[in-house]
Chain length 562, copies 2
């Protein structure tokens, strides 16, 4: 292969990966990275854990597993890659194939020629134009300096209370970090419930309850109007409804792609400012590739271009770019839209589309909510999870899932990620030969249960209502007859649904069947709606045909209980 | 639907599942279970945990998550299913559609008519004809009485040492249980290494080392010739090489299907005695279904009928049988051959085919071994795992995997189970959008890394040797030049390969390149062979073309180190 000059702008995730892969594929290439910051190969997703002191040293986030810092020396000696940190690229001359960059220390401009250029310029946090956003201790958490500043403020002991503006993924990860540091935390968001990009309002309400148990106030549907301070230091956040005290504020309302350079160079951009790339991650200029947070990718399900700025996507894309520069015919398969976070004892994740997104994408979407233990009840450490599984009625393909719970949620999520990526139907997923032994799963894995429950619903074997649907019905003109088949002790322990209901434990139902009206729809449930399903069989066996099940039972009920 | 009489023989896994599902689908049916034992819906896979006292009460293995024992009353009241425990079916009259069963308490014979019959007769442990196999405290672990007898003996304090005959899945699960109870354990097996049905000899050697660390002797390749005793109680086990002391012996050499009833009724059987069934799990008599441990299933990869007696398979099959009796058009998809177990800190699992099986099935099999952390090194609880991934060169389909390690292995295994079931290629798996956040995974999941490494190998980007292949080379006439690029401290910590090698830390390689001979093949490695891959790039960049990598590095080396 000819000795190409490859220039990479950005050395955090996609850029560093591109360089490392390329150095292995084509050691004869002349590879250079320009990085505006001081650090390379930064594990930015680890910042919340650094702030929370789970990760003690910032070096842990920029070193190899053996403790060697991935600095310019490392890249030169180990990988034969030239790195210029503190170099801000300012201009691309596509004609001459030269990039101008400013050495931020000296202010000097230098020119870097290239045969092939890689834009891995990433994204930056949005700093909303709220009055007071320039006060001291108003942070974003995106770069290593951000993380160090935030941690220093906490280490200094001057932070007793904090407000996080934005209840998305980063905001929620930092909630846990700050609570772990003994800080009183509030979250304000214009959205009614947390994590709206991951989970629906029903799951979100349950997250809000967990936050409350941890002493965290979630102020949903509130607009932040001002960050207030004294002597230049933040003291609180004023929303349109209240004032929250704060010695520290985190702005976590979203990010935008860093694509001014690409725009000024005349590369084609999407309306949201991300760079248009093809399957090889080539931009509208065939000598320029782009990857990571600054580009959009094809969603495998919708075939539409979407922005999924994630560290995992950036790494996968770096590999594809390197392969193509080395003239290997690799294509980027696309994304399905996976995200996950840990929030106290909960793991919360999603992949693919939710029901609304699936409808919008033209699928005949149908979903179910199930509540399942992650292993047999007799094994220690059992955790319960709620799975919402979404499929397309026509093709029966799985198109999405959201999972939340205390058990091993990430395993089930990744199985469904694989299932969606491979185009599995609900029937295939239900019949997948997942690994079973008591420490790891139930004999039929929660994923299998979810697929089976969805098949039951799709095939008309049982009519079900989600909690939201049942709530609407109960508050409508013609509420159904609610039948709770739990034991009375469970009602005391787990709570009661806030509507009129009959409580007949399942074992007594056959003998007390005459208590059930014949002229109304009956909706059954129990703790997780497994006994509810048996109750439906009993009712049907006694001539009741207008019967339905509350999905996920009382455990998945997100609204208040009595 | 007409009111069918459905008779089910066996109420442990497949039988109980068939009945429960059918009662929901067709409450008007007359469903009867005949069970020869006393217990129904037994979580038999939990027995090792009961023996190990992780599960305290036997009732936990036969009750619902709410603590209600699934006895005949429960099945009658809750599910409208008639159950006869202590009833041993002795004869099927297919002409008259009647089963004869003996009430084991009274000795009385009763006749049970059926419209559709389900054989869920399971399997039984093989009691090898070794002299002394009838001594007291020589156990099998298959039924609830087996488990209770074994636990009682331990609880009585009379067991100081135990020998397990058979190093398969059940044998290994019981090893941990007995060690946890403070018993000195030895394992004897005719096979050279443990778990031969799950993992190859290289992984098996590493398991043997872990056993040794736990004080468990594994005596592989030894034939048990006698179980010796005094006064009718076992005192030891004599192999063809040694005598092992034992206050207790577990026979765990395998199981055979319980199909005498089916055979005598003239149903078609496989040569190994399992019942022949179609995709609906119908036997050669269309009025008789069979499922669970007594039947064979199609392997999805080989399309051949295989025996996979697992609780998960039995449960999936019960659902299919019920659907078909209720006239729903459900087919059993088949199995891929998944198994998993916990052994101390290790999780060990496999799915699909190993390289030899894949070759035998006509695949052009290629495999790789990688060593990967399950989450970033900076996160607490990080565990390392070894993945062997097997694919077919021609179709590029993933056909198998074995995984072993201290991290979250079961997640990666299930992702690959889904990938294999859906016919994913190695390229699709490598590009799957798995969930990433530091508590759960590395930015590129271990599964992704394994798929990428296998692609590199398949595409000729890097030549690799497995430990076994390298060992053979090193002990052959023309050994390659070994280059260990770890730091000297790591050599002290992790051990040295037991052959001549050069140790040049990766960062020094460029400057010391002249120490590497030009006329020999160079094989590089490090701790996990990631730096080894960089070393290959450095060598290639300096004109060395005859270079290769040791798969998995020193961590995956199963043989003795210096």
């Amino acid at each position: 292969m000819e000795k190409k000059k490859v220039l990479i702008i950005g050395g955090v995730a996609c850029g560093a990966k591109t360089a490392a892969r390329l150095a292995r594929l084509a050691p004869e290439f002349d590879i250079t990275i320009l990085e505006r910051g001081e650090h390379l190969s930064v594990a930015g997703c680890g910042f919340p854990y650094f702030v929370g002191d789970v990760v003690k040293e910032y070096k842990d986030l920029v070193c190899t597993p053996l403790g060697i810092v991935r600095d310019a020396n490392f890249f030169r000696n180990v990988k034969n890659i030239a790195v210029h940190t503190g170099h801000m690229a300012t201009r691309i001359d596509r004609e001459k194939k030269v990039v101008a960059a400013t050495d931020t220390a000296s202010g000097e401009e230098r020119l870097f020629p290239y045969d092939e250029l890689v834009l891995a310029t990433g994204a930056s946090p949005i700093r909303p134009p709220i009055p007071g956003n320039d006060l001291s201790r108003v942070f974003t958490l995106w770069t290593m300096p951000d993380a160090m500043a935030m941690k220093s403020a906490i280490d200094a002991g001057s932070v007793k209370s904090a407000v996080i503006i934005g209840g998305g993924l980063i905001g929620m990860e930092v909630v846990e970090a700050l609570v772990d540091r003994g800080i009183s935390v509030s979250v304000a968001d214009i959205q009614p419930t947390p994590l709206p990009a991951l989970i629906g309002e029903d799951f979100g309400l349950r997250v809000t309850k967990v936050l409350r148990q941890k002493g965290v106030g979630f102020y949903g549907g509130e607009k932040v109007v001002e960050i207030i301070g004294e002597n230049g230091v933040v003291t609180g956040v004023r929303t349109d409804k209240r004032t929250l005290p704060a010695d520290m504020v985190l702005l976590a309302v979203g990010i935008r792609p860093n694509t001014i350079l690409a725009k000024e160079a005349g590369l084609e951009l999407h309306p949201n400012g991300t760079i248009v790339v093809d399957e090889c991650l080539r931009t509208s200029d065939p000598a320029i590739y782009a990857g990571g947070d600054c580009v959009q990718s094809k969603n495998i399900l919708t075939e539409k271009s979407v922005w999924q700025p994630m560290g995992s996507t950036a790494n996968r894309q770096g590999r594809v770019i390197a392969d193509n520069i080395a003239e290997l015919p690799t294509r980027f398969a696309g994304v399905v839209g996976t995200a996950i976070l840990k929030l106290f004892h909960l793991t919360i994740g999603k992949t693919g589309l939710n029901e609304e997104q699936a409808h919008a994408a033209g699928f005949d979407a149908v979903s179910i909510v199930v509540e399942e233990p992650d292993r047999p009840h007799f094994m220690p450490g059992m955790g319960a999870m709620t799975i919402r599984l979404v499929a397309d009625r026509k093709s029966r393909r799985i198109v999405g899932a959201q999972i939340m719970g205390g058990g091993v949620v990430d395993k089930r999520l990744d199985s469904i990620v694989a299932a969606i990526s491979a185009g599995m139907t609900v029937d295939m997923l239900a019949d997948t030969d997942f690994a079973y032994a008591p420490p790891f799963a139930t004999a039929l894995d929660p994923t299998t249960h979810a697929a089976n429950a969805l098949r039951n619903k799709m095939d008309g074997l049982v009519k079900t209502y989600s909690a939201k649907e049942l709530k609407a019905l109960m508050e409508g003109a013609n509420p159904p007859f609610l039948l709770d088949v739990r034991s009375p002790q469970e009602l005391d322990l787990q709570g009661r649904i806030p509507y009129d209901f009959a409580n007949i434990p399942l074992g007594q139902l056959r003998g007390r069947i005459t208590e059930i009206p014949k002229d109304r729809e009956i909706v059954t449930f129990c703790k997780i709606s497994v006994r509810g399903w048996d109750a439906i069989a009993t009712l049907r066996g006694n001539g009741y045909e207008n019967v339905a099940l509350l999905e996920g039972g009382i455990m998945a009920w997100p609204y208040d209980l009595r």
